[in-house]
């Protein structure tokens, strides 16, 4: 078929053959894309994130590749991992032998269309452009199904690794369904080398009273472009706790969208650590659709060099969602003169009996804190580095998987020059 696309990038990305399954979904996405172009900074939603660098490149199809994953293994999850390389399932790198009986954790390419409801997490508006690109062209990804009342003891590990000789485009797809009363911990990681575009889409359904803890780590290459979509629907009394940690990519954007039913609870935390010319954008949407749901959002950015970070946190409280308790904080640290942060809370409250709070700070390290550390014998550089580390460590300290927590602490220590301070906890 021919698509009337004005952008050569979009035309290229959709140029390949349409994968066989999920045809209705793909046609819908293609139809919406036909009238669209890459957003520009004239679009309010993309005001601070300039995609010119992306538009100037052309991305080919992602070939199968082999990678050494030994550096990415986490001891708690050696037998509960599915690995995808360049978007393709890597059976030899994966190992699901320790996955609890009853839990289904398998590549999407082996799933039958009928067994689940892909693309069914509803949205208030049009799907985003990068979400539609994924829907039109994804080939593989993971499906996780946890049956009713099952508490999954071991965390599951999803590893997406990209290895690009020439620029390639990758569309990982993930569907997570937790049935009523079940509990799961999931670690989703993105690593890579070379120039590539990755547009993961993660759909989450948390059933009544179910609990999902979702750690998301973005360590893409410095030449990569990462546009991630997360859609989570949390049923009555369910809990969804996610933490998104962004370290890599030339330009990254995370768009989490979470809908809370009655009495549901969500936390949507984020940390971005940026340097050089990196851009990291988070546009989140939390919908308190029903009464008595609670949400917490702590988003932190540490911006150095000429990097820039963007946070746009939208919270909508529907008219009958009385008793809502929503708290949002955006805390940002600028480490250089030319680093930049744009943060915007966006609260839309249509109910009257609600507790909503938000706060945003952008600044340098607190001179009182620096002095306190110096007064105990740390020199000015060490004090600065320790405080910078602490600013990030505050988010990392709550990661439940110990080995992941340790490795991310080390990464942050190295990036904040706190590694000269020896072992910290």
């Amino acid at each position: 078929m021919t698509l009337a696309l004005t952008s050569s990038l979009l035309a290229d990305l959709l140029g390949g053959a349409r994968p066989a399954e999920w045809e209705a979904l793909r046609l819908g996405a293609e139809g919406r894309l036909a009238g669209r172009d890459l957003p520009t900074t004239a679009d309010e939603d993309w005001k601070y994130t300039d995609l010119k660098a992306l538009a100037s490149l052309s991305f080919g199809q992602a070939p199968r590749a082999t990678v050494d994953i030994s550096g990415h293994l986490l001891p708690e999850m050696v037998g509960t991992r599915q690995v995808f390389v360049n978007g393709h399932h890597a059976p030899h790198a994966s190992c699901a032998s320790a996955v609890q009986a009853g839990v289904r954790f398998f590549p999407m390419s082996t799933a039958s269309e009928a067994c689940h409801a892909l693309g069914s997490v509803p949205d208030g508006g049009e799907p985003g452009l990068f979400e539609d690109l994924n829907t039109a062209r994804f080939e593989d990804g993971a499906v996780i199904l946890v049956p009713r009342n099952m508490r999954v003891a071991l965390p599951l590990h999803l590893l997406f690794i990209s290895k690009a000789e020439d620029p390639i485009a990758i569309f990982p797809r993930v569907l997570i369904v937790l049935e009523r009363g079940s509990e799961l911990e999931l670690v989703e990681e993105h690593h890579g080398e070379g120039t590539y575009l990755t547009c993961p889409v993660v759909e989450v359904r948390v059933g009544e009273g179910a609990l999902l803890r979702h750690e998301r780590v973005q360590r893409d290459s410095d030449e990569a472009f990462h546009f991630g979509t997360l859609k989570a629907e949390v049923a009555k009394g369910g809990q969804y706790h996610s933490r998104t940690l962004s370290f890599g990519a030339r330009i990254s954007r995370q768009q989490p969208w979470v809908r809370l039913a009655e009495g549901a609870d969500a936390s949507l935390d984020g940390l971005a650590l940026l340097d050089g010319h990196q851009v990291a954008d988070t546009h989140s949407f939390l919908l308190h659709a029903e009464p008595h749901a609670t949400s917490h959002q702590l988003h932190k950015c540490i911006v150095d060099g000429q990097a820039r970070a963007i946070f746009n946190g939208q919270i909508r409280v529907a008219p009958h969602a009385q008793g809502t308790d929503a708290r949002q904080q955006s805390r940002n640290l600028l480490l250089s003169e030319s680093a930049r942060m744009d943060t915007k809370p966006q609260l839309e409250i249509y109910a009257d009996d609600v507790k909503c709070s938000h706060g945003a700070t952008v600044g340098q390290l607190d001179p009182e804190e620096l002095f306190y550390l110096q007064s105990r014998g740390l020199n000015a550089d060490d004090a600065r580095n320790l405080l910078t580390y602490g600013f990030a460590g505050d988010v990392l300290n709550h990661i439940p998987v110990a080995s992941l927590r340790r490795s991310l602490r080390q990464l942050v220590m190295a990036r904040t020059q706190a590694d000269s301070l020896g072992e910290l906890s």
Partner: protein, 254 residues
């Protein structure tokens, strides 16, 4: 050990210390007392190099060396410690990591062996007994969410870890109940040695029942108005500060 001569200092251009003279020898305990806003805390903060204050005149020698040649961290490594009235909270850095770092920086400066995490664990467990701190406070972020009393306990723990030559304690009793005050006062007494000096800054004389000074100075309006032995603290307890101020105004300033 400490020699302060005609020290003047200001904050945002406003003079707060207007000519302080004070001599302290090793082994001595001095108390600085005075009404609120008298400049007591300022004196302590100027000695440890708080950046908000500008030294405008005078000199301070610590063990014969010009104190103002040293950055705040160098003063700390040289053996000066201040327990603050309002200790700062530092999220994300565990108390234990911070204490070990501070200990090792000082050990390094003195050419002693640094302690690895396991060695430090043994070391710190002895020290927390001294201030009756619960172990969980070691794993928590530095002062984060600590009550006023717990923060003070942590200040004295830091003093016990760093073993300073000159310790300045600013309003140690604020935020403390009577039992905690006794515990921390006893801890400070046990840390006192003939080669150390202690400067206790306090508004209320109560703490001086536990930590007994040899010398008491009344500071007001940025000047020391009266200096005497510990009996002065008892008199201040009974009569308040007004009589000292009136005596000074009447020309009784010595």
């Amino acid at each position: 050990m400490l020699s302060i001569k005609n020290l003047t200092a200001s904050i945002n251009g406003t003079p707060v210390l207007k000519g302080i003279d004070l001599e302290m020898k090793a082994g001595e305990i001095h108390a600085i007392m005075g009404p609120n806003g008298s400049g007591k805390s300022t004196l302590g903060k100027v000695l440890v190099g708080h950046p908000a204050y500008a030294v405008t005149g005078g000199e301070v020698l610590f063990e014969g060396k010009n104190l103002f040649d040293l950055e705040p961290d160098a003063r700390a490594r040289a053996g000066i410690f201040m327990g603050f009235q309002h200790p700062i909270e530092v999220p994300g850095v565990s108390n234990a990591s911070f204490l070990r770092l501070a200990y090792n920086k000082k050990a390094e400066a003195e050419g002693r062996d640094e302690l690895d995490p396991l060695e430090f664990d043994d070391f710190i467990h002895e020290k927390i007994k001294l201030v009756a701190m619960k172990e969980e406070f070691l794993d928590r972020s530095l002062n984060e969410g600590f009550s006023g009393g717990e923060k003070k306990r942590n200040e004295i723990l830091q003093m016990a870890v760093l073993e300073p030559k000159l310790a300045i304690l600013d309003e140690l009793d604020s935020g403390l109940d009577i039992d905690a005050l006794r515990v921390l006062g006893d801890a400070v007494n046990r840390l006192q040695r003939p080669d150390r000096a202690l400067l206790v800054i306090t508004h209320f004389p109560r703490i001086l029942e536990t930590i007994q000074p040899q010398y008491v100075h009344v500071l007001s309006g940025g000047r020391i108005l009266k200096s005497a032995g510990k009996e002065l603290a008892i008199e201040l307890e009974e009569r308040g500060y007004d009589w000292v101020l009136e005596e000074a105004a009447a020309g009784g300033l010595r």
